[in-house]
């Protein structure tokens, strides 16, 4: 990582610090049995604003939205995931325990963003469409909802491990966490489906085919199938909560690889090589 940061990267560093502060506050609240909701809300909001400013600076410099390189995709997700988490943290108090896992995850994502190559790339002509915004927008909502579900399911899973008395004894109970996690998964499923539809419409307009089994399409479909499998498994079997958590984790891992791995390791339209 370069020691000299550009202004946009300096904002990313501010976001990392703010997310880390919020993460520390979330864990301190558990250990100290104190309510630190305001600190978490303010820190997370600050991080989101810092990400937004970083995106704005880059946009001004490149003339394009953050859609192409790994750096841009990480930066835009650092913003969107943080925004979705903060909105849920404020509006759905039951989901607040998810902050214990999500905020450290966002901090790590921030470090990865800073480490990624920030060299700008020109936007291909086929990306100049409103469909890109719709496709990317609903995709980000999907990942955000999935991430919150992981935050909630992760707590259930952590409680299964030994020596976690403080988590086991603190409310809310597993039943509520599990119920809430699957609600977020249900919303995520709807948005993932919308992402596939918007992507297909865009691909038809841009490349003359709505589905071609390219790497990203295939892995996005695999993620959708994994979600369908998880939702069906939950209504078919009385699964132990920890195994439900594992299913939610699996979907998130697939989604994470699809968002941040596949487009940058394969050639194809999504990478902008036309």
């Amino acid at each position: 990582m370069s020691l000299q940061l550009s202004p946009e990267q300096a904002y990313v560093l501010i976001a990392i610090v703010a997310y880390s502060l919020a993460a520390i506050a979330a864990w301190a609240a558990v250990f100290s049995h104190r309510r630190l909701d305001s600190i978490i809300t303010i820190s997370a909001s600050l991080a989101v604003i810092a990400c937004l400013l970083s995106i704005a600076l880059r946009w001004q410099q490149t003339g394009n939205g953050p859609f192409l390189t790994l750096y841009e995709v990480l930066l835009s997700n650092l913003f969107s995931l943080g925004l979705i988490f903060t909105v849920i943290y404020i509006t759905v108090p039951r989901a607040r325990p998810s902050s214990l896992l999500i905020l450290p995850l966002l901090s790590l994502l921030g470090w990865w963003t800073l480490d990624a190559d920030a060299t700008p790339v020109e936007l291909p002509a086929t990306y100049n469409t409103a469909l890109l915004w719709i496709h990317v927008g609903v995709g980000k909502v999907f990942l955000g909802m999935n991430m919150v579900a992981v935050g909630l399911a992760g707590l259930i899973f952590v409680r299964q491990l030994r020596h976690n008395v403080f988590l086991t004894e603190s409310p809310p109970d597993d039943e509520m966490l599990d119920d809430l996690a699957w609600r977020f998964m249900a919303v995520a499923f709807v948005f993932h489906s919308l992402m596939l539809i918007a992507g297909a419409v865009w691909a038809q307009d841009a490349w003359g085919r709505f589905w071609a089994w390219d790497s990203l399409e295939t892995w996005a479909f695999i993620t959708w199938l994994a979600m369908a499998l998880s939702l069906h498994a939950r209504v078919t079997y009385r699964m132990p909560k920890w195994s439900g958590s594992l299913l939610i984790f699996s979907v998130f891992i697939l989604a994470f690889l699809t968002f941040f791995g596949v487009p940058f390791t394969s050639v194809g339209p999504h990478k902008g090589i036309l």
Binding site: A26, A29, V30, S32, H33, R34, R35, D37, P93, R94, R96, P97, S99, L100, E122, P124, A125, T126, N128, T129, L131, S170, P171, P172, M176, D179, R183, A186, V187, F189, V190, S193, L194, L196, I197, A200, V201, Q204, D205, A206, W207, G208, R209, F210, W213, S215, T218, F221, I222, L225, A226, A228, L229, H232, A233, V235, T236, L274
Partner: protein, 339 residues
């Protein structure tokens, strides 16, 4: 007898079969992905199994039948499966190169995929004449917007390009990155007849270094052509690839190895006729796509998602209300902290 048949059909609606089908489809997709085999039997078989399971579930699963949104979603999934089959039977994919100033000729289309029920005859009714072509390039030869002008049968001019296809009789024509220069030539035979034609050179600027092609004259002479464009590529600056005002010349190699340089308007006298180099123009490579079920796919997908969203919104709001009521009854407040 009837009852036992119904019972068997009910078994096909099993959710466990759904899980098995999804796992099989996941495995099939992964197998096809890593083996690079796109139409794999390992995808088709689970899809057929899931379609049968879906139909049985729609007919017999009370949970699906009693929830309108869920029913809507599953019917739409089944519709998409049926549409996929119809699409395979009726769709067509192909490609064609059309020279600037020339009319589209269905006979020169290379079909890459075609369903058994596809009627090729309607493609022959598509009419347009290729107009000017422009492609923006930025520093480093990064391709920008493409503009391809088409003259339609009613003499109207349209411009198509990235994200904008030309549609006629259900066929969609998409501009591609495949485009280049064409040498317009006339062959004057000894008997006084004249044949017009064009020689397409390899895609430009991708094959800037290889602007060569061969052509056999109507009387059998095999001629080799090399196009020399006056303005060389300049990757250091923005530039516009365009079909108008393009200067250059042709180097023609005769069967004996003799080379002739021809500027536009120049001619070469051969044993059986006269070759005239008329002008340099461009050609555009189009991708052709035909699928009469496209709008139905879109509608089924959208209605399906609306259905599942409706189902979940009803389910989640009723669960939320129930929990709030339980909380109020138990005198509990909302959990607002992790502690």
């Amino acid at each position: 007898m009837f009852e036992s048949t119904i019972n068997r059909l009910r078994m096909l609606a099993s959710l466990k079969l759904t899980l098995l089908g999804i796992v099989a489809l996941l495995a099939g997709v992964l197998l096809a992905y890593f083996s690079q085999e796109r139409s794999s039997v390992w995808i088709i078989l689970p899809l057929v199994m899931l379609a049968v399971n879906l139909l049985a579930a729609i007919l017999f699963n009370p949970r699906i039948r009693q929830n309108s949104g869920l029913l809507m979603f599953h019917i739409c999934l089944l519709m998409i499966a049926i549409l996929s089959l119809l699409s395979q039977l009726t769709s067509m994919k192909g490609r064609v190169e059309v020279t600037q100033g020339a009319a589209f000729d269905a006979g020169s289309v290379t079909v890459t995929e075609q369903g058994a029920w596809h009627a090729f005859s309607s493609l022959q009714q598509v009419e347009f004449v290729q107009g000017d072509i422009e492609v923006d390039y930025s520093v480093g030869l990064r391709r920008g917007p493409t503009r391809s002008q088409l003259q339609l049968s009613d003499n109207n001019m349209i411009v198509i390009g990235d994200n904008l296809a030309f549609e006629s009789r259900g066929y969609r024509f998409y501009t591609t990155s495949n485009k280049g220069f064409a040498a317009m030539v006339n062959w004057h035979a000894k008997d006084g007849s004249v044949e017009h034609g064009s020689i397409h050179f390899p895609s430009y600027p991708l094959y800037d270094w290889k602007q060569q092609n061969q052509w056999q004259a109507p009387t059998g002479e095999q001629l080799a052509f090399q196009l020399m464009i006056d303005t060389p590529l300049d990757p250091e600056h923005d530039w516009l690839l365009q079909s108008v005002d393009r200067d250059g010349y042709l180097v023609v190699t005769l069967p004996g190895g003799a080379k002739h340089t021809l500027a536009p308007g120049g001619t070469i006298e051969l044993d059986n006729g006269l070759l005239e180099f008329e002008a340099i123009r461009m050609w555009m490579g189009y991708k052709i796509f035909y699928d009469p079920w496209l709008a139905w796919f879109f509608a089924a997908a959208l209605v399906g998602v609306a259905g599942i969203a409706w189902h979940y919104s009803l389910k989640l709001s009723s669960a939320g209300n129930r929990r709030s009521a339980e909380d109020r009854k138990a005198g509990r407040g909302r959990v607002v902290s992790t502690t």
